[in-house]
Symmetry: C2
Subunit: 609 residues, 2 copies
């Protein structure tokens, strides 16, 4: 994928990899360097690395298990620029040193300690200090979860030592995460960083299975916090390039702290401050393009690969913004030695809208081997999930987690909220339900995912705050709020979200709904009052206000239709559907015109329900 | 680009092209076929074509100037599947035969006739039949406008014959087009077609210079009509693959008809029916991926290249939908024999957000040669144009047309409408201007492009219809309409567009604005009246209505803010800006809290303007 990006920019690439079937070789044969473009050898072979270095201006890595000594030697002797810095690769190669490094830069990580001697006694001591369960990790050559053992109780100690035989080990406190998240960060040679959107990653048997972009959360600050941690992490390293920062997200309010005292030099422990919002702990860093960034090829303005090239070649860094509302990535792992099952599946995937198939051209298929991936893009999380569900239902080897990660959408009129709603319908009281139901019906008709619930401004003010503050971060794009009497709900919600809020005045027992209408629509401008008689230059400072899009009294239908129109701004399918709906309105009246003419107005029956 | 798409899907490709520096060769070296992947030779050489055919299952072309006899021979002998069909390539190769074919399939084209003998007399006869100006065209080997001569008066006849010396010619009535448009159409082997969005193409010296996607127009039906014509055109051909259909768009109401009588067998003439809306005439067809479809790589769910592969391999056709709101493509033509100027420019382009640089790796740069292209994607036409303007300002060789195709945005508070507005601010009367100006100020502040004008429901009803019906097709996403008294404007506009309409009730001399408020907000549901007391199952048939998002009386500020919130649904930058704005509101009040405490409420001065 890096070579494909390079070819777009006419950047000649030379690769070092074993065998003539190396995937990168398949899209890499620059005419001026065709005899040079592939060095057939192991990336651990110092002679081959030196040969590679002799042929290029800038040397980079796509895997960190490389001989750093040779890289350093080449760099020191100024034969070649190496990115990221060999010292960075050395730090990351040894997972224990990586943790020491992160701790010394005050990056939040789980408590961990060195195991000087891998023995039953050593594990007992670690358990005594860190508590159980704990994770035993090989310091080196660990990849996709190989070299990890979760020790739940000490009776497993012997098994653990056998499983991890002869490897240098360290122990880490087991982290009770609620989600794994990741951020790709691009770093220039002089240490400027820029991060991609935060994504959720789902692992299966320790291998990345799914990635969802962007991350949704009830916590509106989470994404910014995760990006801050990730960028700070990458700033602590040296050299240019793209880095994947994998993180754990803990549940809100969970106190995850280290109770060790730092007595012995081999005892390292991260201290984590308690926060009411979900803690973020860095798990590990990939000093290279990463699986959790594959979605950037189709979903972002610049792919992780292109930005890696830009960074190591000191070209301007490209925009990391998403260019689609929602994306997901599904890894294609071999289900057996036979690739044909996977190829049948990818042919099926070609029929799924928004699916981009990537096959890596690896010579041999093996069970569990990454053979390719599929990126899905769509207008909404709900659409991405519907498409992902189609894929998971046919995935070779099965996907038992399908209902967790790509749940079926509730049927229209089921009375159940969608898990990935674009519209939130809320009302101040259950008595408002008959007025708000038509809004739900409209959204059903236009196949717009929504949720429906009760939020009372006066009786559940905390719920109101939580609902409004989290709405955008959860992926909602429009809120429809109905309330009666001194109707505060729509205006208060609008004051606590940047989303458009549609207000439905509900008619109460007195005043015919005019009280609700005025309570909802008459949202003030908050400073320097009247607009009347002013010209452009007199209008500074700017007027300030909070708008509510008010519809007619009791008119949930129009609220639903307005929500659809708002969403249609980014969705041609909805524009077409709305135009079709309006044609139907016209047709319906024209039919009545005909009928009136046919039967005459004396016998015409006006239908009322 | 085709080879790059094939590599994603692990489809082995063999190319036929001259020299070891053929661009496709640079990203094509499949391990199992590396010794086979490039046949060095001319695509006009029958021996080489036969060699290519012997090595593949499916043969396709990226240029139509190939020996069709050989293709037919290979196909007939069932040695290889050829797409598109050789007969299609033969028809398209000869531009005169192409016109005959289009005419026989009732595709709208400009009047044309054969020139049996290229002589002054022959041209005079053509001019007598078609009128002047006319376009003399070489029947074969015409490409990027080579082989065309526009004959404006007969004194140029000798020049024309010399310029087009020895070529077989035909003449075409000169088309007074207002725009050139194009549609990429993918066709399956069995003749199903699916079209990409309609684009506007801009040519310079007969070579494609710019492409804008999607096409904007005052005519809401234009895109559908153009796609219909393009699909019908491609359905008339044979074989699978992607086709580019280039078309002329005439001005509304222009009568462009042929006055010839069909007397002689060599006189062919298309008859075009008059329509009040702009006529569409097919100019020519490219039976292959086309320059006007390059934008699909970044901007659509499936690129033209991948869909070409899918079509010729009988794989499912991928979605042709745009996945970004707006895109443009700029061709990179050599400015001289030296490519370095172009490379400096592309390095600059890497710093422009949403720009994707494609360099083709051609061995030699020449003035006017296509060396690559840049695709721009963005959230709006205005953003695409602002980015394009940056590029055109630095384009080697200059871009004298910059103000035409990427005009500078008007300064905030200039009182001028943006050429690519997302929001239309309209009002029933100029006396509403003081109420509506704050909406414009808000949009200035949030850098949202808008237009502002007067549309009176009662005094300019035709203008109202035209404005509302064309709004979406022109690229508007929100309309803000202000009106007073029996305020009909917002509701009538909402009845004629699928866009969200924000209504601003303007206070008149009596009734304190309550008349306008109720006129705007009380948009009815149009059938089966009341919602009260009904449960889900009682609500069929569905309620129907037309919504207007009403804000407070005289509150243009809130209308502007609501428009920003609506646009923010597809634009993270606007969400951040709106959150920042709301933080400022909070800060402003908190400062007043401090001041009240500081000076005491007896001496506190309430500011009023």
């Amino acid at each position: 994928m890096l070579a494909a990006s390079a070819s777009l920019l006419n950047i000649p690439v030379v690769i070092l990899d074993v065998s003539s079937s190396a995937p990168a070789k398949q899209i890499l044969s620059h005419p001026t360097t065709s005899h040079l473009s592939h060095i057939d050898g192991a990336f651990t072979d110092p002679i081959k690395i030196r040969e590679l270095a002799s042929k290029v201006d800038v040397l980079t890595v796509e895997i960190e298990h490389i001989s750093v000594d040779v890289l350093e030697e080449e760099e020191v002797q100024a034969r070649v620029e190496v990115h990221p810095a060999p010292s960075t690769i050395r730090t990351i190669q040894d997972k224990f040193q990586q943790k020491v490094h992160l701790q010394s830069h005050a990056i939040p990580i789980a408590p961990f300690l060195n195991i000087v001697e891998p023995s039953i006694q050593g594990l007992k001591e670690a358990a005594a200090r860190l508590g159980l369960p704990l994770v035993l990790k090989s310091k080196t050559l660990a990849y996709d979860g190989r070299g990890n053992f979760v020790l739940r109780d000490l009776s497993q100690a012997q098994n653990a030592l056998e499983f991890l035989s002869d490897r240098p080990l360290y122990a880490e406190k087991w982290v009770p995460f609620v989600k794994e998240i990741a951020v790709m960060v691009v770093r220039t040679a002089v240490g400027q960083t820029c991060s991609y959107p935060v994504v959720e990653t789902v692992h299966k048997d320790n291998i990345c299975h799914l990635v969802f972009a962007p991350l949704r959360s009830r916590d509106p600050q989470l994404a910014a916090r995760a990006q801050e941690v990730a960028e700070r992490t990458v700033q602590s390293l040296s050299g240019a390039g793209i880095f994947g920062v994998e993180m754990f997200l803990l549940a809100d309010g969970v106190l995850f702290n280290c109770i060790l005292t730092l007595k012995k030099s081999h005892t390292h422990c991260a201290r984590v401050n308690w926060r009411s919002k979900g803690q973020i702990l860095v798990n590990e860093i990939a000093p290279r393009p990463h699986n959790s960034g594959h979605y950037t090829i189709e979903a972002c303005e610049t792919s992780q690969y292109e930005n890696h090239l830009r960074a190591i070649l000191s070209l301007p860094i490209g925009s990391t913004a998403l260019k689609v509302p929602s994306a997901a990535m599904l890894n294609l792992l071999g289900s057996s030695d036979n690739i044909s099952e996977l190829l049948d599946f990818t042919e099926f995937a070609l029929g799924v809208p928004g699916a981009s198939v990537h096959l890596y051209g690896k010579a041999e298929c093996r069970k569990g081997r990454k053979m390719g991936h599929i990126t899905l893009t769509a207008n909404s999380d709900a659409e991405v999930c519907a498409r992902l569900r189609q894929l998971l239902q046919r995935l070779p080897g099965g996907a038992p987690d399908i209902d967790l990660h790509a749940p079926e959408a509730p049927r229209p009129s089921s009375g159940l909220s969608h898990k990935q709603p674009l519209v939130g319908i809320i009302m101040g009281s259950d008595s408002d339900l008959p007025v708000m139901l038509p809004a739900a019906r409209i959204l059903d008709r236009f196949r717009v995912p929504y949720e429906l619930t009760i939020v009372s401004a006066h009786r559940t003010p905390d719920r109101l705050v939580e609902y409004a503050r989290s709405a955008a971060a959860r992926g909602l794009r429009v809120i429809v709020a109905g309330a009666g009497g001194a109707a505060h709900l729509p205006g208060m919600v609008a004051a606590m979200t940047a989303l458009p809020v549609i207000g439905v005045p509900v008619k109460g027992s007195s005043l015919d709904g005019v009280d609700s209408l005025h309570s909802i629509v008459q949202m003030p401008v908050s400073s320097n009052a009247s607009n009347h008689g002013h010209r452009a230059d007199e209008l500074t400072p700017l007027q300030r206000g909070i708008p509510v899009a008010t519809v007619a009294i009791n008119n949930g239908t129009n609220a639903g239709l307005l929500a659809v129109r708002i969403l249609a701004a980014g969705n041609p399918r909805l524009v077409r559907d709305m135009e079709g709906y309006m044609k139907e309105l016209e047709k319906e009246v024209l039919e009545k015109v005909d009928k009136l003419e046919e039967v005459g107005w004396e016998s015409y029956q006006v239908k009322r329900t």
